[in-house]
Every structure is written in C-alpha cells, then in structure tokens.
C-alpha cells in the first residue's frame, strides 16, 4: 500500500491457502497438453472406385488412460460426392464394425455489392471414438462407391483416404469445461476469503476531515481507505505545478474517546485533467489490527487547500471507508493500537 511505517508489522491475518485454488484449473489443461504429445499412427490408402483396400495393421489399446480415436478423411475432388464404406476388421479378418460415410465437397465463387471471393465447403471425414474391449491388432477395409461430379457423372480417379489413430485420446471439451468451472469456483473462494468484510462503513465529507464510529476489531484486519479530490475554484487551467504530496493523519479512538492510535504519513497527489477540467486526487489504504472488538472512532485528515504558484486548490470531497474482519493474501504493513507513527 505504499506505506512504510516503523510501527508496521506483518499480520497473522495473512491467509495463503486459498491461493492454491488458482492452480486447480491447470490440472485439466495440463492433461490436455500431455495428451496432445501422443504421436498418432498415420494411415494412407489409395482407393480406386469399387475396390476394397486394406490398411496397414494397427493396434487399438484398451485401458483407463484415454481411449482410442480413429479419424478418416477422403480427399475427393472439388464439387464431387462419394459413398465411403469402412469396415473395422479384427486380427482374424472378421468385421467387428462397419459403417458408410456420405461425403461431399463443393466450391464456387460469390459476388455481392462489388465484392467477390471463393467459398468451399465439404464433409468427407469421420471420427470414431470407442474402446476395443481388449487390446489387439485391427485393420480397416475401405471401399468407394458413387464418386460423382456435380452433374452426377462418375469420376474415374482413385481417392486418397488418410487416417490417424490415437490410443490415448481424452475428452477435450470436457477438460476445457472443467477448467472453466474450476476457475469460477476458485474465484468464488477468493472472493469469500478476501473480498467480504464483517462490516463496512463509508462516510463522504466535503471538508478535509472525515470520521466514522463503528464496532470494529477482533479477528482479521481493519482496512481504512481514503480517497480525496481537490479542484480549482475557477474553470481556468492551473498557473503552475500542483503539489505532488499531501500530509494524511489517521487517528483511532476507543469507546471512551481515548486515542489508541495516531498515524501520520505523506500520500502521493496525482494531477488529472479531462475536457478542460483539472483536479487533484489522492488514494491511500491503511491496514490496522485491533485485537478487541469494540466501538472505535476512525478520523482522517487531509489538507483543506493547497496553495502553489498562485493556484488555490480546494478540497471537493473526502471519502473514508472502514472495513472490518478482512484477511489478506499477501503480507501488508499493519498498524497496531497504542502506536504513534510517522510514515512517508
């Protein structure tokens, strides 16, 4: 928080374990990355019309680590269609699965409103995910029928059919969905741990002083947030350089009005401008630890005005927010009661 306080110390309200939840979505993504490392077995077959072509033998493995996935694509000419018969044969040559794929490929040109281009669509591939029951060697038998052009005329050329076989494929959409849901759950956890206060009070003042009395203290930290804005009393641009810093004082009193903490520090003042408007702003967060729950009064003070190079910057508003019972994911300087501190 930019506070360098001699009285500050690290607080036991530091809570680190929820940060581990941010690693959880990496698990499904890691599995997905590792599964992509598996080198697929490639098959290439040149299939003339009407002939049954056997692929090279390949192994389909059974097991819990992923599952076999087989893909086939027929490289048919543009503007043609085909019927592809595929049979999966076991080591004994018996058909254990057979299917037919209706494939097509179309292309052309388009012209509209002075623009033109080409288009191409097609569906001449298939994917088969299954388990073989037990590990064994298999073969594919592929046969082409009705390789026709757009007008329904037969095309004589043989077709190249390319295949790939993975034995340990995983359900990629489910892994991505799991990563997203886990990330959302982790964010809910972080919000529950670090974003929710036991109590929150806000006071806005148009003077250089603001104070809040509230029940605060006990487990966790008290966070005091201060935001202020100064403006020129006229619409003209500033004559000189605005001040770069301001003095901030925080005082905390107990239920009987006895001061239990006084802290003074220098905060950075930023010069902003937009559409001809100029203003100064300051923002500071201070963490406190109040061991005992009780009524406390938090009072902050900033300069009412700045006078610099003939300019008079007047405070427009000062906003004080007090949040109680917060935990923090990282070490922050913490002020304790009965401390009189001077920071930068």
């Amino acid at each position: 928080m930019g506070l360098s306080s001699p009285g500050g110390r690290r607080d036991p309200a530091l809570l680190l374990w929820p940060l581990a939840s941010l690693l959880l979505p990496l698990l499904p993504l890691l599995v997905l990355a590792v599964s992509a490392l598996e080198w697929p077995r490639r098959l290439v077959m040149v299939v003339p019309e009407g002939q049954r072509v056997l692929s090279a033998p390949f192994e389909l493995r059974d097991g819990w680590l992923g599952s076999p996935r087989l893909t086939l694509t027929a490289e048919i000419p543009p503007n043609s269609s085909v019927e592809l018969d595929v049979a999966l044969l076991d080591a004994g040559g018996r058909t254990v699965l057979s299917l037919t794929k209706d494939g097509w490929r179309a292309s052309g040109t388009w012209a509209e409103e002075g623009e033109s281009g080409t288009w191409e669509e097609g569906d001449a591939g298939l994917a088969l995910a299954m388990r073989p029951g037990r590990t064994g060697r298999f073969q594919l038998a592929v046969q082409l029928h009705d390789l026709l052009d757009e007008a329904g005329r037969p095309l004589p050329n043989p077709v190249v059919v390319r295949g790939s076989i993975r034995n340990h494929s995983v359900d990629a959409p489910l892994l991505l969905f799991t990563a997203v849901v886990t990330q959302a759950t982790a964010l809910v956890l972080l919000m529950a741990c670090y974003g929710i206060a036991r109590g929150r009070w806000v006071r806005r003042s148009d003077e250089g002083v603001a104070a809040i009395r509230c029940e605060a203290g006990g487990p966790g930290l008290v966070r005091v947030g201060v935001v202020a804005r100064w403006e020129l009393p006229h619409d003209n641009p500033p004559l000189g350089q605005p001040p770069a810093t301001a003095s901030l004082e925080l005082r905390v009193c107990d239920a009987l009005g006895r001061p239990c903490l006084r802290h003074r520090q220098t905060v950075t003042v930023a010069h902003r401008s937009s559409d001809g408007d100029h203003w100064l702003s300051a923002h500071q967060v201070i963490h406190l630890r109040l061991p005992e729950t009780g009524s406390h009064r938090f009072r902050v003070q900033l300069p009412e005005t700045f006078r610099a190079d003939g300019d008079i910057w007047e405070i427009e508003w000062l906003r004080l927010a007090v949040e109680d019972g917060l935990m923090t994911p990282r070490p922050v300087p913490v002020l304790s009661p009965d401390a009189v501190t001077e920071g930068r």
Binding site: L24, P28, L99, L128, V170, A192
Partner: protein, 77 residues
C-alpha cells in the same frame, strides 16, 4: 460449524478431480461388443449393430441422398 471457505475449496477440488477423471477414463464411451453402435458423426450410417455381443450386419439398403449438402456461397461468405 463448518467453514464455508473450506466447503468451497472442497467443491473446487471435487469438480476438477471428477471432470478430469471423466475426461480421461470416459466411462460412458461405447465398447466393442456392447449393444448397439457407437455415436455416429455427421453423414455416418452403421452397417449393423451389436446384439448379444455379436455384430449383426443390417440388410444392405442404398440410402437415397442428393450428394451435395452444402449451404451454398451465401452462407460460406
């Protein structure tokens, strides 16, 4: 009293474990010899199905289909 933050953490661990294991082991995936056929992708017709652990070839029947299924240049632009 159960800390709700611990419950959310347990929920996150459960979600990631269940989702990752299901994606790896794929318990619902069709197995050779199982009744029926695997899930069919676009334009795929199975030539039979498993009944009582045996692949039974269906009666050959030529499906009447027009060949081109493209949506045309307007949709492809």
């Amino acid at each position: 009293m159960v800390d709700e933050r611990a419950v959310v953490m347990v929920l996150a661990v459960t979600v990631v474990t269940a989702g990752t294991l299901a994606a790896i082991t794929r318990p619902g995936l069709w197995r050779l010899g199982q009744e029926g056929t695997p899930a069919a992708s676009s334009g795929v017709r199975y030539g039979g199905s498993y009944r009582s652990g045996r692949w039974v070839t269906a009666t050959p029947r030529r499906q009447d289909w027009s060949g081109f299924q493209g949506r045309g240049p307007g949709a492809a632009k």
